[in-house]
Symmetry: C2
Subunit: 193 residues, 2 copies
Protein backbone atom coordinates (compact mmCIF):
# COMPACT_ATOMS: atom_id res chain seq x y z
CA UNK A 1 0.00 0.00 0.00
CA UNK A 2 2.07 2.90 -1.28
CA UNK A 3 1.36 6.50 -0.46
CA UNK A 4 -0.57 8.50 -2.98
CA UNK A 5 2.01 10.29 -5.17
CA UNK A 6 -0.16 13.41 -5.10
CA UNK A 7 0.41 13.71 -1.36
CA UNK A 8 4.13 13.42 -1.80
CA UNK A 9 4.27 15.91 -4.64
CA UNK A 10 2.20 18.46 -2.74
CA UNK A 11 4.32 18.18 0.39
CA UNK A 12 7.51 18.47 -1.63
CA UNK A 13 6.40 21.52 -3.58
CA UNK A 14 4.92 23.27 -0.57
CA UNK A 15 7.91 22.70 1.70
CA UNK A 16 10.31 23.84 -1.00
CA UNK A 17 8.42 27.10 -1.21
CA UNK A 18 8.07 27.39 2.57
CA UNK A 19 11.79 26.89 3.02
CA UNK A 20 12.58 29.57 0.47
CA UNK A 21 10.16 31.97 2.13
CA UNK A 22 11.71 31.21 5.51
CA UNK A 23 15.22 31.97 4.32
CA UNK A 24 14.39 34.97 2.17
CA UNK A 25 11.75 36.79 4.16
CA UNK A 26 11.77 35.42 7.69
CA UNK A 27 9.51 33.20 9.69
CA UNK A 28 6.61 35.64 9.72
CA UNK A 29 6.20 35.36 5.97
CA UNK A 30 5.86 31.59 6.03
CA UNK A 31 2.09 31.44 5.73
CA UNK A 32 -0.46 29.23 4.01
CA UNK A 33 -1.51 32.11 1.81
CA UNK A 34 2.02 32.96 0.74
CA UNK A 35 2.90 29.35 -0.03
CA UNK A 36 -0.35 29.06 -1.97
CA UNK A 37 0.47 32.13 -4.05
CA UNK A 38 3.96 30.91 -4.85
CA UNK A 39 3.11 27.30 -5.64
CA UNK A 40 -0.43 27.45 -6.98
CA UNK A 41 -1.49 24.89 -4.40
CA UNK A 42 -4.82 25.90 -2.93
CA UNK A 43 -5.00 27.11 0.65
CA UNK A 44 -7.47 24.42 1.66
CA UNK A 45 -5.04 21.72 0.53
CA UNK A 46 -2.25 23.32 2.50
CA UNK A 47 -4.45 23.44 5.58
CA UNK A 48 -5.18 19.76 5.11
CA UNK A 49 -1.47 18.99 5.24
CA UNK A 50 -0.54 21.46 7.98
CA UNK A 51 -3.57 22.29 10.13
CA UNK A 52 -2.27 25.61 11.40
CA UNK A 53 0.39 28.21 10.78
CA UNK A 54 2.54 26.86 13.57
CA UNK A 55 2.86 23.38 12.11
CA UNK A 56 3.67 24.77 8.67
CA UNK A 57 6.46 26.91 10.10
CA UNK A 58 7.76 24.04 12.18
CA UNK A 59 7.88 21.85 9.10
CA UNK A 60 9.80 24.52 7.19
CA UNK A 61 12.24 24.87 10.09
CA UNK A 62 12.75 21.15 10.41
CA UNK A 63 13.45 20.95 6.68
CA UNK A 64 16.50 23.15 7.11
CA UNK A 65 17.42 22.89 10.71
CA UNK A 66 18.67 19.35 10.65
CA UNK A 67 22.11 20.22 11.90
CA UNK A 68 24.99 18.85 9.86
CA UNK A 69 26.45 15.77 11.46
CA UNK A 70 30.13 16.26 12.07
CA UNK A 71 32.28 13.14 12.21
CA UNK A 72 35.03 14.19 14.61
CA UNK A 73 38.59 13.96 13.46
CA UNK A 74 40.66 12.90 16.46
CA UNK A 75 43.86 11.57 14.97
CA UNK A 76 46.04 14.61 14.39
CA UNK A 77 47.53 16.99 16.91
CA UNK A 78 45.02 18.87 19.05
CA UNK A 79 45.50 22.10 17.15
CA UNK A 80 44.77 20.39 13.86
CA UNK A 81 41.73 18.50 15.11
CA UNK A 82 40.27 21.56 16.73
CA UNK A 83 40.93 23.71 13.72
CA UNK A 84 39.23 21.17 11.49
CA UNK A 85 36.16 20.81 13.72
CA UNK A 86 35.63 24.51 14.35
CA UNK A 87 36.26 25.18 10.68
CA UNK A 88 33.30 23.00 9.79
CA UNK A 89 31.18 24.62 12.46
CA UNK A 90 32.14 28.07 11.16
CA UNK A 91 31.51 27.05 7.58
CA UNK A 92 28.05 25.82 8.52
CA UNK A 93 27.27 29.10 10.21
CA UNK A 94 28.50 31.11 7.25
CA UNK A 95 27.34 29.24 4.19
CA UNK A 96 24.52 26.77 4.82
CA UNK A 97 20.76 27.25 5.04
CA UNK A 98 21.11 26.20 8.66
CA UNK A 99 23.40 29.15 9.24
CA UNK A 100 20.93 31.49 7.61
CA UNK A 101 18.05 30.49 9.85
CA UNK A 102 20.04 29.97 13.04
CA UNK A 103 19.40 33.56 14.15
CA UNK A 104 15.69 32.99 13.76
CA UNK A 105 15.81 29.79 15.79
CA UNK A 106 17.67 31.62 18.52
CA UNK A 107 15.12 34.38 18.24
CA UNK A 108 12.22 31.99 18.59
CA UNK A 109 13.87 30.35 21.58
CA UNK A 110 13.32 33.44 23.70
CA UNK A 111 9.60 32.68 23.80
CA UNK A 112 9.26 29.15 22.46
CA UNK A 113 10.13 26.07 24.50
CA UNK A 114 10.41 23.79 21.50
CA UNK A 115 12.96 26.04 19.85
CA UNK A 116 14.98 25.86 23.07
CA UNK A 117 14.85 22.08 22.82
CA UNK A 118 16.14 22.20 19.25
CA UNK A 119 19.02 24.39 20.37
CA UNK A 120 19.77 22.19 23.36
CA UNK A 121 19.94 19.09 21.17
CA UNK A 122 22.10 20.88 18.65
CA UNK A 123 24.51 22.19 21.26
CA UNK A 124 24.73 18.80 22.91
CA UNK A 125 26.05 17.41 19.63
CA UNK A 126 28.51 20.26 19.23
CA UNK A 127 29.81 19.94 22.77
CA UNK A 128 30.20 16.19 22.33
CA UNK A 129 32.26 16.68 19.17
CA UNK A 130 34.65 19.11 20.83
CA UNK A 131 34.80 16.91 23.90
CA UNK A 132 35.88 13.96 21.73
CA UNK A 133 38.74 16.03 20.36
CA UNK A 134 39.97 16.95 23.82
CA UNK A 135 39.59 13.41 25.13
CA UNK A 136 41.69 12.08 22.29
CA UNK A 137 44.37 14.66 23.05
CA UNK A 138 44.38 13.58 26.68
CA UNK A 139 44.60 9.91 25.66
CA UNK A 140 47.57 10.72 23.45
CA UNK A 141 49.18 12.49 26.37
CA UNK A 142 49.24 15.71 24.39
CA UNK A 143 47.53 17.54 27.23
CA UNK A 144 47.05 16.48 30.82
CA UNK A 145 43.76 15.53 32.39
CA UNK A 146 44.07 18.55 34.66
CA UNK A 147 42.91 21.09 32.09
CA UNK A 148 39.38 22.36 32.66
CA UNK A 149 37.97 20.65 29.59
CA UNK A 150 34.37 21.62 30.25
CA UNK A 151 35.21 25.29 30.27
CA UNK A 152 37.45 25.04 27.23
CA UNK A 153 34.71 23.36 25.25
CA UNK A 154 32.34 26.14 26.08
CA UNK A 155 34.92 28.77 25.18
CA UNK A 156 35.62 27.10 21.86
CA UNK A 157 31.96 27.07 20.89
CA UNK A 158 30.62 30.16 22.62
CA UNK A 159 32.85 32.67 20.88
CA UNK A 160 31.96 31.86 17.26
CA UNK A 161 28.26 31.73 18.08
CA UNK A 162 28.50 34.94 20.03
CA UNK A 163 30.24 36.64 17.13
CA UNK A 164 27.82 35.38 14.55
CA UNK A 165 24.46 35.50 16.30
CA UNK A 166 24.85 38.33 18.78
CA UNK A 167 27.54 40.70 17.55
CA UNK A 168 27.02 39.92 13.86
CA UNK A 169 30.72 40.20 13.17
CA UNK A 170 32.55 38.27 10.51
CA UNK A 171 33.93 34.79 11.02
CA UNK A 172 36.95 34.37 8.75
CA UNK A 173 39.89 32.03 8.58
CA UNK A 174 42.31 34.44 10.23
CA UNK A 175 40.08 34.90 13.20
CA UNK A 176 39.54 31.16 13.48
CA UNK A 177 43.31 30.54 13.50
CA UNK A 178 43.71 32.95 16.39
CA UNK A 179 40.82 31.42 18.25
CA UNK A 180 42.16 27.88 17.89
CA UNK A 181 45.63 29.01 18.88
CA UNK A 182 44.33 30.57 22.05
CA UNK A 183 42.35 27.50 23.04
CA UNK A 184 45.30 25.20 22.37
CA UNK A 185 47.69 27.40 24.29
CA UNK A 186 45.37 27.41 27.25
CA UNK A 187 45.02 23.65 27.12
CA UNK A 188 48.73 23.04 26.95
CA UNK A 189 49.61 25.35 29.80
CA UNK A 190 47.74 23.03 32.12
CA UNK A 191 45.95 25.72 34.02
CA UNK A 192 44.55 24.81 37.38
CA UNK A 193 40.82 25.48 37.21
Amino acid sequence: MKEDPRLIATRQTALDAAQKLLMDQGVLHVTHGAVSNVTGISRSTLYRHWPDARSLRDAAFRRIATPPNIPPKTDGPLRSDLRWLLGILMGALNDTPWGRIAPQVVAAASTDAEARLVIAEFMKDRFASVEAVFSAAIDRGEITADVPVEQLIELAIAVPYFRKLIRHTALDADWLDQHVNLICNIAKNELES
Copy 2:
Protein backbone atom coordinates in the same frame (compact mmCIF):
# COMPACT_ATOMS: atom_id res chain seq x y z
CA MET B 1 4.07 77.00 25.28
CA LYS B 2 3.81 73.86 27.35
CA GLU B 3 2.82 70.51 25.93
CA ASP B 4 -0.76 69.47 26.35
CA PRO B 5 -0.92 67.36 29.53
CA ARG B 6 -3.29 64.98 27.77
CA LEU B 7 -0.53 64.03 25.34
CA ILE B 8 1.87 63.34 28.15
CA ALA B 9 -0.61 61.30 30.13
CA THR B 10 -1.54 59.18 27.13
CA ARG B 11 2.07 58.50 26.21
CA GLN B 12 2.92 57.59 29.77
CA THR B 13 0.01 55.22 30.24
CA ALA B 14 0.42 53.59 26.85
CA LEU B 15 4.16 53.05 27.15
CA ASP B 16 3.80 51.62 30.65
CA ALA B 17 1.40 49.06 29.27
CA ALA B 18 3.51 48.42 26.17
CA GLN B 19 6.57 47.82 28.31
CA LYS B 20 4.72 45.37 30.48
CA LEU B 21 3.39 43.53 27.43
CA LEU B 22 6.87 43.42 25.96
CA MET B 23 8.38 41.88 29.06
CA ASP B 24 5.53 39.50 29.86
CA GLN B 25 4.42 38.25 26.47
CA GLY B 26 7.08 39.10 23.93
CA VAL B 27 7.43 41.62 21.17
CA LEU B 28 4.71 40.11 19.00
CA HIS B 29 2.10 40.94 21.61
CA VAL B 30 3.01 44.61 21.74
CA THR B 31 0.21 45.83 19.53
CA HIS B 32 -2.11 48.81 19.36
CA GLY B 33 -5.08 46.59 20.06
CA ALA B 34 -3.52 44.94 23.10
CA VAL B 35 -2.40 48.26 24.58
CA SER B 36 -5.87 49.64 23.93
CA ASN B 37 -7.50 46.73 25.76
CA VAL B 38 -5.21 47.06 28.76
CA THR B 39 -5.30 50.82 29.11
CA GLY B 40 -8.71 51.78 27.78
CA ILE B 41 -7.07 54.22 25.39
CA SER B 42 -8.76 53.97 22.01
CA ARG B 43 -6.89 52.41 19.12
CA SER B 44 -7.21 55.51 16.97
CA THR B 45 -5.51 57.59 19.63
CA LEU B 46 -2.68 55.09 19.85
CA TYR B 47 -2.29 55.17 16.09
CA ARG B 48 -2.14 58.95 16.28
CA HIS B 49 0.84 58.68 18.65
CA TRP B 50 2.59 55.75 16.97
CA PRO B 51 1.61 55.45 13.30
CA ASP B 52 2.36 51.75 12.96
CA ALA B 53 3.15 48.64 14.96
CA ARG B 54 6.85 49.05 14.34
CA SER B 55 7.14 52.47 15.93
CA LEU B 56 5.10 51.38 18.94
CA ARG B 57 7.39 48.41 19.51
CA ASP B 58 10.46 50.56 19.03
CA ALA B 59 9.17 52.99 21.62
CA ALA B 60 8.56 50.16 24.07
CA PHE B 61 12.06 48.80 23.45
CA ARG B 62 13.70 52.16 23.90
CA ARG B 63 11.87 52.60 27.19
CA ILE B 64 13.67 49.58 28.65
CA ALA B 65 16.71 49.04 26.56
CA THR B 66 18.82 51.85 27.88
CA PRO B 67 21.71 49.68 28.99
CA PRO B 68 22.97 50.21 32.52
CA ASN B 69 26.10 52.31 32.65
CA ILE B 70 28.84 50.46 34.49
CA PRO B 71 31.54 52.52 36.16
CA PRO B 72 34.57 50.26 35.99
CA LYS B 73 36.38 49.38 39.17
CA THR B 74 40.09 49.21 38.35
CA ASP B 75 41.81 49.49 41.71
CA GLY B 76 41.84 46.00 43.13
CA PRO B 77 43.63 42.91 41.85
CA LEU B 78 42.60 41.76 38.39
CA ARG B 79 40.54 38.88 39.70
CA SER B 80 38.57 41.16 41.95
CA ASP B 81 37.97 43.84 39.31
CA LEU B 82 36.89 41.31 36.75
CA ARG B 83 34.67 39.49 39.17
CA TRP B 84 33.01 42.75 40.12
CA LEU B 85 32.46 43.87 36.54
CA LEU B 86 31.17 40.56 35.23
CA GLY B 87 29.04 40.22 38.33
CA ILE B 88 27.24 43.41 37.42
CA LEU B 89 26.89 42.29 33.83
CA MET B 90 25.50 38.96 34.96
CA GLY B 91 23.17 40.60 37.42
CA ALA B 92 21.84 42.85 34.68
CA LEU B 93 21.20 39.85 32.47
CA ASN B 94 19.43 37.97 35.24
CA ASP B 95 17.38 40.53 37.06
CA THR B 96 16.72 43.73 35.12
CA PRO B 97 14.11 44.57 32.50
CA TRP B 98 17.01 44.95 30.10
CA GLY B 99 17.98 41.35 30.72
CA ARG B 100 14.45 40.17 30.13
CA ILE B 101 14.19 41.78 26.72
CA ALA B 102 17.77 41.20 25.62
CA PRO B 103 16.86 37.90 23.93
CA GLN B 104 14.24 39.71 21.93
CA VAL B 105 16.64 42.44 20.88
CA VAL B 106 19.07 39.79 19.71
CA ALA B 107 16.19 38.11 17.94
CA ALA B 108 15.17 41.29 16.18
CA ALA B 109 18.77 41.89 15.13
CA SER B 110 18.65 38.95 12.76
CA THR B 111 16.39 40.92 10.45
CA ASP B 112 16.58 44.48 11.71
CA ALA B 113 19.56 46.76 11.12
CA GLU B 114 18.63 49.18 13.87
CA ALA B 115 18.58 46.42 16.45
CA ARG B 116 22.06 45.48 15.32
CA LEU B 117 23.15 49.05 15.92
CA VAL B 118 21.72 48.95 19.44
CA ILE B 119 23.65 45.77 20.13
CA ALA B 120 26.85 47.14 18.61
CA GLU B 121 26.68 50.24 20.80
CA PHE B 122 25.93 48.17 23.84
CA MET B 123 28.77 45.74 23.22
CA LYS B 124 31.17 48.58 22.56
CA ASP B 125 30.51 49.84 26.07
CA ARG B 126 30.92 46.38 27.56
CA PHE B 127 34.16 45.73 25.75
CA ALA B 128 35.50 49.11 26.83
CA SER B 129 34.73 48.35 30.47
CA VAL B 130 36.56 45.03 30.40
CA GLU B 131 39.40 46.58 28.46
CA ALA B 132 39.81 49.21 31.18
CA VAL B 133 40.16 46.47 33.78
CA PHE B 134 42.87 44.70 31.81
CA SER B 135 44.72 47.94 31.04
CA ALA B 136 44.81 48.79 34.71
CA ALA B 137 46.20 45.33 35.48
CA ILE B 138 48.92 45.85 32.88
CA ASP B 139 49.73 49.28 34.30
CA ARG B 140 50.07 47.78 37.75
CA GLY B 141 52.39 45.16 36.32
CA GLU B 142 50.01 42.44 37.43
CA ILE B 143 49.98 40.98 33.94
CA THR B 144 52.32 41.64 31.05
CA ALA B 145 51.42 43.48 27.89
CA ASP B 146 52.00 40.27 25.95
CA VAL B 147 48.65 38.70 26.81
CA PRO B 148 46.14 38.71 23.97
CA VAL B 149 43.84 41.21 25.63
CA GLU B 150 41.44 41.51 22.71
CA GLN B 151 40.71 37.83 22.73
CA LEU B 152 40.41 37.66 26.51
CA ILE B 153 37.88 40.47 26.50
CA GLU B 154 35.79 38.63 23.98
CA LEU B 155 36.05 35.40 25.97
CA ALA B 156 35.01 37.15 29.15
CA ILE B 157 31.91 38.61 27.57
CA ALA B 158 30.98 36.00 24.99
CA VAL B 159 30.50 33.12 27.38
CA PRO B 160 27.89 34.68 29.69
CA TYR B 161 25.92 36.02 26.73
CA PHE B 162 26.16 32.69 24.98
CA ARG B 163 24.91 30.89 28.04
CA LYS B 164 22.07 33.28 28.65
CA LEU B 165 20.84 34.12 25.16
CA ILE B 166 21.64 31.02 23.15
CA ARG B 167 21.85 28.05 25.47
CA HIS B 168 19.43 29.47 28.05
CA THR B 169 21.44 27.98 30.89
CA ALA B 170 21.68 29.48 34.33
CA LEU B 171 24.21 32.12 35.29
CA ASP B 172 24.99 31.74 38.97
CA ALA B 173 27.72 32.87 41.31
CA ASP B 174 29.57 29.55 41.26
CA TRP B 175 29.77 29.52 37.52
CA LEU B 176 30.92 33.13 37.47
CA ASP B 177 33.72 32.34 39.92
CA GLN B 178 34.97 29.58 37.67
CA HIS B 179 34.72 31.78 34.64
CA VAL B 180 36.67 34.62 36.22
CA ASN B 181 39.27 32.20 37.53
CA LEU B 182 39.84 30.80 34.09
CA ILE B 183 40.23 34.21 32.48
CA CYS B 184 42.63 35.36 35.18
CA ASN B 185 44.71 32.21 34.94
CA ILE B 186 44.99 32.63 31.21
CA ALA B 187 46.00 36.25 31.60
CA LYS B 188 48.67 35.49 34.17
CA ASN B 189 50.25 32.65 32.26
CA GLU B 190 51.28 35.13 29.60
CA LEU B 191 50.27 33.03 26.66
CA GLU B 192 51.78 33.91 23.35
CA SER B 193 48.93 34.68 21.00
